[in-house]
Each structure stands twice: as structure tokens, then as C-alpha cells.
Amino acid sequence: MKLLIKNGRVVDPSSGKDAKLDLLIEKGKIVEIKAKIAAKGAKVIDASRLVVAPGFIDMHAHLREPGQEDKETIETGALAAAKGGFTSIACMPNTDPVNDNRGLTEYILSEAKKRAVVNIFPVASITKGQRGEELTDMADLVDAGVVAFSDDGQSVANSQLMRRALEYSKPLNTLIIEHCEDKNLSGEGVMHEGYYSYLFGLAGIPASSEEIIVARDTILAQEAEASIHIAHLSTKGAVDIVRNAKKKKIKVTAEVTPHHLILTDSYLEDYDTSLKVNPPLRSEEDVQALIQAVKEGVVDVFATDHAPHTPDEKDVEFDKAPCGINGIETAVSLLLDKLVSKNIISLKRFIKMISTTPSLILGLENKGKICVGADADLTILNLHKEIVVDVNAFKSKSRNNPFQGWKLKGTPAMTIVGGKIVYPFSSSKNL
């Protein structure tokens, strides 16, 4: 079955395209790109007034399977991703058991093939059981299909072990992703340390907890001449460290989440646990520094850190609630409204940071670009439509999202994976 997408504004940062073009898709690939294409027998999608972008890639999501299927499954997480405009997601290894071996990676990939409507790229842990003691069999895991390694949720506390991981990863053409946090400094902290933590009487997580590890890891990456990707950058100091490291040509990349760009620690005044997240929501000054970093290109990627938790788990004392925001279905609208429609960044920059660059960082060939021969993974956006966030309409199994009721301008209109329409859901049956 051929698919013809007509009259859309095609925006592809990898080639610099930004023009009204037709796209013809056949057998899961883009086969033709021209101003006017006529294709007999093709299903036609009219993309007038819509933007056609290379499929969005979320480098940082938690699918919870295996082991925590009450929060999310590979199937529901993928549906949520499709609704959120993502065609590919990288899933973090902090499942139960931890994805630290070939068997588990193969399980995730085979389940994804059976049940996921988007591409799933597993991330394995750096250390066995995420215990920070021994390296996983990294070459075997790369061979099994993981795209990166991370002990997400915590840093590799032992600096020597982290250095070994960086060194060892080099010939494997893989990526080390670090959740930067010194757990001793974080202590019992549950929110950003500062005026508001003292005001609300909640234990604080200082900015230094993140910054010390960002600094350490850029130093180690330099020494090992390896690449490092910093997950969910959240402080002004961490931005400065990454900026300086990039100036020194250290191979560091960084991601930022929508919630860290939009919300501050002051939002916690009602002790709403849907706002409890790690790294915590930071100060206004940090948020401004992150927005500046996005504008400058110090931050490379938007990622969601989609972290589903059940309502019962979140409906507790603030101190006892698990950290995480269920963000994959709101990320695109939030970024379009708060950054693109307000002209803080261009549409092209936005697409670059959510598709082109993540595909390059993860080494996903044939993704993140619109060209003949590329995978037909596409995200079609409606920049004009206003939506109201409704967590009860989520495809995710969980509801822990603090943007309930927010009115946002701009939304994914269609998600196409390998030439198949996976969102809106009703259309997928027709293909």
C-alpha cells in the first residue's frame, strides 16, 4: 500500500528543507519527494496547513515492563508515544528485573515487535543490576540491540567505574547516558533546595548534587576521549559546565525535559505529588538558564523522561511519593506552545532537537530525516489547533501529569511509523 502525503509544509532540519512538498511512501520508506506527486492507488493524506516533520524520537522514557506493568507496559507506553507524536522511543533499564543482559533486551525487543505501535530502542544498564559495582556485558548487549547504556535513576557513583565504562564503550559505537546525581548530597531531599524548600519545610536537593556529577563526567569523557550524554539537565550551573565542556571540544551532549523548561519549584506550594520529579523542578533562575541553553544550542535534545506511576502510588504524603512525570503525551504541545509559538526557538530548531539530533546521538540510521530512502517515520503537526490537557484521555496507563487543564496551542495531528498511520488510532485500521 502506498501512502501519499500532499500539500504539507515539510520541515527537515537534516537537509534544510522547509517547503510545501508531497511525500510518497512505499514499503515503509520514503520513495519520492516533489512539489506535486500523482500516485495511482495511493492512500492520500491531505496535510494542508499542517507541518510534516521527521518522526520524533524520545531518548528518555520509562516503559516499566517487565515488572511494573501496573504503571505502564510496552504496549500502552508505545500508544502514549504515538499519541504524543513520537515514532521512536528509547526505554530506560530500571525495570524489574533491570535490563542488564541479552535475555531481557531480546524480550523487550520481541514484545515491542508484537505489541508496540512505535519503534522501541532499549537502553541497558551500565552496571549489573544498576548496583554500581560491575560493568554489564556491553558488547553482547550492543549486539542484542541496545542503543545506549545508563544507570538511570542514579549515577555510577564510583568514578573509576564510570571511567572504565566510558573507555570500554568507545569501540562499541554506543552511548553512555548519565543521570547526574550525587546521592550523598541529595540526602533525603524531595525538591530543589532553595527559598521554596525552606518555605515549604521539605528537604532540599541542592543544585550541586547534579553539577558535581556533570562536571566529573565531562572531565572523565575528556580524559577517556569518549562521548557522554547528560540526561535531563536542570540547573544553571550544569548548563555552564556543559557549555564550557563543549567549548573545549569535549564530546558531551545534553537533553532537557519540557517540565524543567516550564515549571519551577514555586509550583510545589500545594504539595502536589504530580510535580515530584528527579531532578526536581528548579528555581526560576535555573529555568531561564535552561531556556537560554536551548536557544544557544548548549542543550541538544528535548526528551520527556516519561515516568508513569499509578494514582495510588502518587496519592500519598509528598515525602513518600515516587518521583516522575508522565509526560510523553504532553511534551510536544508544551514545547510548541511555550517555545515555538512564543518565538523563543524556531520550528526548525524544535524539530532538530526532537528528531534530527536524537537520531544522530543514538546512531539511528535512516531516522530523523526526510529524504528518499529514509524510513517513513513522520510526525505531522497542527500548529494552530488548541488543546486542553486531559489526563483521563491519556493512552498511558498512568495519570501523573501536572499539566491537567492547561490550554496549549499546537499538537501532533498524525504519527506515521514505517509508513503506517499509528495515530490517530482509528485510521490505523484502514491501512
Partner: protein
Amino acid sequence: MAFKHKHLLGIQTLTPSEIMTVLDTAESFYEISTREVKKVPTLRGKTIINLFFEPSTRTRSSFELAAKRLSADIVNFSQQASSAVKGESLKDTILNLEAMNPDAIIIRHSCSGVPHFTTTFCKSHIINAGDGSHEHPTQALLDAFTIRQEKKNFKDLKVTIVGDILHSRVARSNIFLLRKLGARVVLVGPPPLLPLEFKNFGVDIDFNIDRALEGADVIMMLRIQLERQQKNYFPSIREYRNLYSLTEKRFQRAKKKAIIMHPGPINRGVEISADMADSAKSVILKQVENGIAVRMAVLYLLLGGKEREALD
């Protein structure tokens, strides 16, 4: 009299005139506790639950007596006796108590924000009896009542608060209240327990107790918890005592008519020397006595009166 709140969650949300309303109301209840028959029918027929998830003798008994002297029915519920130890969630525990149709629930919990959380699913009036490191509003109100008995006016009083400011809900509620009423507040403590950010609450910070006591009208000593030493907030109790405890000699630096306060329980010989705790300058037991009148006022303002019924 204006006190238009359904709950008492903290001092932060009260206006100066609302604070004065509580103190004036407490004044009118004060005398009841000195009568031979210590009971008035004001809250007859009202049911109050005293829900304490942390050990407490003073605050719990004080609320209990306050409720009883107003003829309300009060039930005590402590964590040891509760289903919390059986794994029931906080919300379920409170919903079960709420199902018994109380008019008010008084809550003490070690986690900040629990009273706020409770208001999101409860119909009852919620009174914060101390939440984590956040607020302890009735303590600050009874402290203010005690200060007013002794000093008449708050404006330009110098109040020095000494100890573990970081973890103290008493310090926070007192800072908010005293600043609203125009007093000058100086905080003293070991730097790890006294973040500089507290300056943004409109107070002065000093790490030298002798300097901070200079010319003080009111000295508030806070209990120092021994577990803080295990977490290296300060090196040893000996060193803490040397640097921060209130002694006769240090007291000389304060004004002649200065008063010594402590929310209790005190560690004699740690944050305060025994002779200071027992001296004529100490109003520590007066605070406890005043606590009942102030809590009667709070219960009355939240639960009683025709104005109240209109608001409900």
C-alpha cells in the same frame, strides 16, 4: 471579628488582624481554665479527632483539654494504635475517620504538607498540629499570646531564635508570625542548620549567639535533636553546648526584662542550662498554660458561632 478560614494550616496564610483575632479570642477563654468548673457549652455536639502520627504529649493534651473545656467530644488517635502499622495508606486512614462524621480533624505528621494534602479529600475542618519541618501554627500563636502578656507590643521587639532552624516548624511559624506583627527576628544556629536563604523571610542571621542575644527582648530556644549530630550537622553535643546553649552568662547580654521561651520538650544542659530553664525569666510553663486558651480560640473560630455556620 474576622477569621474567614475553613482550616488552620499555617501562619503564612493569616493576616495580622486574623492573628490578633485569635489572640483576643484566646484572652476571653483564658479565664475559663482558672474556674472551678472548667467547662463552657460553646462547642457542645461537635466532634473532633486528634490524629497524631508523631509522638506528642504537650500539643495533643493541650488540644484535648481545649476541646473538652468547650464541651466538644474528642477522640485521640495515635499512630501506634492505628492501621498505619498494618500498611493502610494515610489517605485511607483519614477517609475512614472522616466517615465517622467528625467536625474537625487535628493532624500532626512527620511529613510536611500532610494537612494540605488532607484538605484535598476531606470535608472536615483541618487543623495543623505540626507537619514535618513546615509549620506549627498553634505553637506560634501561643508563643505570641505569651509574648503579648509580657511585652504588650510586637513592634520593634527583638526576638532571638536559637537552634536547629532548618528542621524546625516552630521556628518557621514563629518567623512568619513575628514578621507579620512587626517584630525583629534574629536567627542563630550552626551554619548547616541555618541556611542563609532564611534571610529572604525578612530576618537577620547570626552564627554568634553572644552577638545575637545583645539587646534581645525575647529569647526562643529550640530543642536540639540528638540524631542531627549523627548526620554531621554539628560535631558533638559538647561543641553544640559550648557554642549555642543559653547560660546565665550569655543571658546577661539580653535586655534586663528579657524572657526565655522554649516550645519543649527541653534538653536540660544541652540547648539551655537547667538554671536558665527554671529561672524567673523563663516563661516555658506559661507557654504550656496559654496553649489551652489559644487552642480553644482556634477551635471556636473554626467551628463555633453563627458567623461560622454561615460560612460552612
